[in-house]
Symmetry: C2
Subunit: 601 residues, 2 copies
């Protein structure tokens, strides 16, 4: 179906918004009145700009407080409408949104509303314009879609139809099934928005917290199915009021928005993009650094061995068990020092995974490689992390490992006993404006499942974290966001290594000269108050800075943290009895300890 | 009464919080358990640190999910409590907060709750500790203060009392009158928090949006009166969970917090700080600039005359009617260029005003002056703006004007006809973390009245604005806050000049070479749709970039904006028929136009 977006959903000037919408692949836009009023372009110039960008103007919105008012007030409203219809003619758009009245002057009289909307439609018809009447969830007398439709039906005017808005319908808990009773050709427009489930005044909820479909908790897919079943033929249009989107760059937000519509259409059975290819593991992570020594020292102490070097690039491969870390000292090195720049995801079908990503608007990265290197498919995640779809040691697929030449044994670091087996999870702090976008990206593009969002109190503000995983937990990425955009440049990233014996792994790390994060004694005193431990167990945790968590099903989690290099630190984690979390309860203590910055050898 | 603050109310490490609380003048603190767990200090060290800072530890909090549970669970809870009582002995605090249970294991059985709390109190008594039992608003079975009190009363144990929390009581709409039926000595603790009135899930509301008394909409004063009438003798303690405070520097937040308690005690008749001396006008504003030429050119075009120069400092006085602007090229000049650094407030009693400010913890500024200068009383507002309490041409009071030497007529700029009469209002963008603080400061320290808060959509994010005024509107300050802390350094400041003929004033400004902000034609087209104007009126507004607003009582507002110099621009405003607003409806168009930055001569 055609896709459209209301200009109010994006930040910036009107022309920035139009450009972003066009670049993201939208077919059309709704022009929000305030965006037009604030633009220095004439309506004719806006029309031309849209045409140049390949955008239709699908809707002008909104006209407010029109109907069910005393006659003298309505006369003024008609005068105002005539001005707007003239403006719409100049803009070249033929549909106007009329919201149900919130005016204290409006009376509870459907017959009056019907008659006045019919007269408005008469006037609109003279201009070749259609009026789409929508029930606001907080409309004074008309606040449900079926009520708005009864009025439209009673008016029986060809230039009067209804506009459906998923937020207004679902936020009130209306049953969307009744939409199928509306003739499709009388549904003049469909606006789509999702929202997180919040017990909140509906007006505030709508004005500040709407989000794109799939980012919230409303069943927008189910609603869309009903609208399509009714025979609706118009565009799918996003109308989202969101405090964060307003501050974000329009470009990435528009891409995020368009992706949400593609995923929505897939979910509703209206489109078939390439199927997701769920990754089956983490093949490697790649650190980029201006100085290889600090990460090398850390990896060495963690028992990693430097085993190979890339044929054509200054990239070393470090391995321990199935955990692999690339250390790249090439031109990607950033100002903030060592950071995690790329993740290799094991894929049963790397090309299919990349096709899926591309269809869902993930930026496909150019393959900068020497002729002899394996062709690697890669896309950029919203935070800029490069995601490579790879197959390690697979006969039929190009092998990234073959691009690396084994180092002579003399140059490799000795490998420690295999208490560390693989990468357990990655934790990546996202840019402030792109948290919901990042979650939807990982769910839809990679086919991962999103766990619940948790709040975590850092001493200097509240963090939010949401993990995405595959079914068996072999890929786990905890997406996080800080309290405010002030320290976006210092976004922490961490790599958690799975071990079946965190005590042994921590001791080996320290014995090899590694420094572990010091955890306050008060924390371990509290553990003693809450849990029973075996003889000496707690003293060991105290000594090594090991944190402990237990879930409601009795699953256990023991974990500790290394010192930080650049933006990156490592965690050693031991999961027992089916523990599926990430120790969120311990995160405040860990973050406070990192602010203090004391590590022990 | 003694004042106290929960460490969770402030951002930073535990020691930062303690230091900030002590510096702000609090007598004691509540130690929030998570702050202790995350601290590298032992309980004994925390005790010593508090003693060194002159702080008592009034409460340890919270213990959760203790009561009304199956016996085997309660046994574990008692074990946990024993650990915490030992910890409290080390800390040197004798009162613990126990919140009503939210556990799914808790049963609705007051007799069971009573019995178990009595056993907890028995244990506490061994340690010399008192248990303060509090009803959480979202407690599973106990969620009102009177229910918690019935349980405490039934237990009849000397070591068991109740804790009252204004948020939990008022957020549920409980009538606080019943507090007077509780014997004062059984009210072991009083926690105070306010919150903006929001229709919202009470747990979310409590965890993220609490604020200090006087910053929200709850009647904390009324509640306090009932608690005092009951005979409560303990401290007044602030417990505030707020996402913004968590990110703010602990120092200013603690001062803000302590001020709120001083104002609360005054309102409840428990303290008598010096009475507010409400300012009666704006004597002057002071611009600080590294280059006097740009503001001088702007002031000249606005019809201001340079009339005098300070005897001992590089400060020029510009005047037009009763509007006065000082231009200071002294050492206060800041990196961002011209900015508004000080406001002179006409005061019937400058010394009294300063005494009030000092009593309410406003930083009193040192008087840097030459021996012959008038002694001026000044304090710093939360955004750093210096507020001078002055008397212009008052016989009995020191006269700031006398510090200025009139320039010989030849050096003064000619004065335009007096369409501009005085400063109508100032609009000052506040640092992101200090908006609520700024409003409370201006209300309490200056005795101004706060109008409603309004949201304004800038193209790049939502702004919030709240005006504070005196009764006759001769002092009006619109406090604003941007969408996020990213552009705190570029905070706009503007000076609105009152005129009885904005058209004449704007024309005179342009004729004198001034540049007015260009307003999009679409805006004026919309005015035509909404209002009827006289012949040629709208064309004049279009030409001059004049904006128009009308309030519900028929009051009218016409205004236009000059170019910006540094952080500062001017507005010319004409109020008719009792208009009391600030043209908020036009602010989105104005801000968009300023982003475009086009001005016309």
């Amino acid at each position: 179906m055609r896709t459209s977006i209301a200009t109010v959903s994006l930040g910036g000037s009107l022309t920035e918004k139009l450009t972003a919408a066009a670049r993201a692949g939208f077919d059309g836009v709704e022009i929000f009145e305030n965006d037009l009023l604030a633009s220095p372009l004439t309506p004719e110039e806006i029309r031309t700009r849209c045409a140049d960008l390949g955008l239709t103007i699908d809707l002008y919105q909104p006209m407010r407080d029109i109907e069910a008012v005393p006659e003298e007030v309505f006369a003024g409203n008609l005068r105002r409408a005539r001005h707007k219809f003239e403006l719409m003619r100049r803009l070249g758009t033929d549909t106007v949104l009329v919201c149900s009245s919130v005016s204290p002057l409006a009376v509870d009289d459907d017959a009056l509303a019907t008659g006045q909307l019919r007269r408005l439609a008469d006037l609109a018809q003279e201009f070749g314009i259609r009026v789409a009447y929508e029930a606001l969830a907080w409309g004074r007398h008309v606040n449900t879609y079926d009520h708005a439709w009864r009025i439209v039906e009673a008016a029986g005017h060809p230039a009067l139809g209804t506009c459906l808005d998923s937020f207004h319908i679902l936020a009130r808990g209306s049953d969307p099934k009744g939409i199928e009773d509306i003739p499709g050709e009388k549904i003049f427009f469909l606006q789509l928005a999702d929202a997180p489930l919040m017990a909140m005044d509906v007006l505030q909820w709508s004005r500040h917290y709407r989000c794109f479909p799939g980012q919230g908790g409303l069943d927008v897919t189910g609603l869309l199915r009903h609208v399509v079943a009714a025979g609706y033929q118009g565009p799918l249009s996003l109308e989202v009021f969101n405090d964060v989107f307003r501050q974000a760059d329009a470009g990435p937000t528009a891409v995020d928005a368009h992706r949400s519509l593609l995923v929505l259409q897939e979910a509703a059975g209206l489109a078939e993009p390439p199927a997701p290819v769920v990754p089956t593991g983490v093949a490697f992570v790649e650190l980029v650094t201006p100085d290889a020594e600090p990460p090398a020292a850390l990896l060495g102490a963690l028992g990693f061995a430097r085993t190979a070097r890339h044929r054509s690039k200054p990239v070393d491969l470090w391995e321990r068990g199935e955990a692999r870390v690339l250390v790249n000292t090439g031109p990607g090195a950033r100002r903030e020092g060592t950071c995690l720049a790329a993740v290799g995801l094991e894929s049963p079908d790397p090309t299919g995974a990349a096709r899926r990503a591309e269809a869902l608007l993930a930026p496909v990265l150019p393959r900068r490689r020497a002729p002899e290197d394996a062709p690697l498919d890669a896309v950029a995640a919203p935070d800029g992390t490069e995601l490579f779809f790879v197959a390690t040691d697979h006969q039929a697929l190009p092998n990234w490992r073959a691009d690396f030449e084994d180092l002579p044994p003399g140059r490799t670091t000795p490998r420690a006993a295999d208490t560390v087996t693989r990468i357990d999870h990655l934790a990546l702090t996202q840019p402030w404006h792109e948290f919901d976008e990042a979650v939807l990206f990982h769910r839809s593009v990679l086919g991962l499942h999103a766990q619940d969002s948790v709040d975590v109190a850092d001493p200097y503000g509240l963090h939010r974290s949401r993990a995405v995983t595959n079914a068996d937990g072999s890929v786990r990425i905890a997406l996080g966001v800080g309290p405010a955009p002030t320290d976006d440049t210092a976004r922490a990233q961490h790599i958690a290594l799975a071990t079946d014996d965190v005590v042994a792994a921590a001791r080996a790390f320290r014995a090899a000269g590694g420094r572990l994060l010091a955890v306050p004694a008060n924390y371990h005193d509290d553990l003693a108050a809450r849990y029973g431990f075996g003889d000496g167990e707690l003293e060991t945790y105290r000594d090594l800075g090991i944190l402990y968590d237990r879930d409601e099903q009795g699953g256990e989690f023991r974990h500790c943290y290394t010192e930080t290099v650049g933006r990156v630190f490592f965690e050693l984690v031991q999961r027992d009895a089916g523990y599926r979390g990430y120790g969120a309860a311990n995160a405040p203590v860990r973050m406070a300890a990192q602010h203090i910055g004391r590590t022990v050898r």
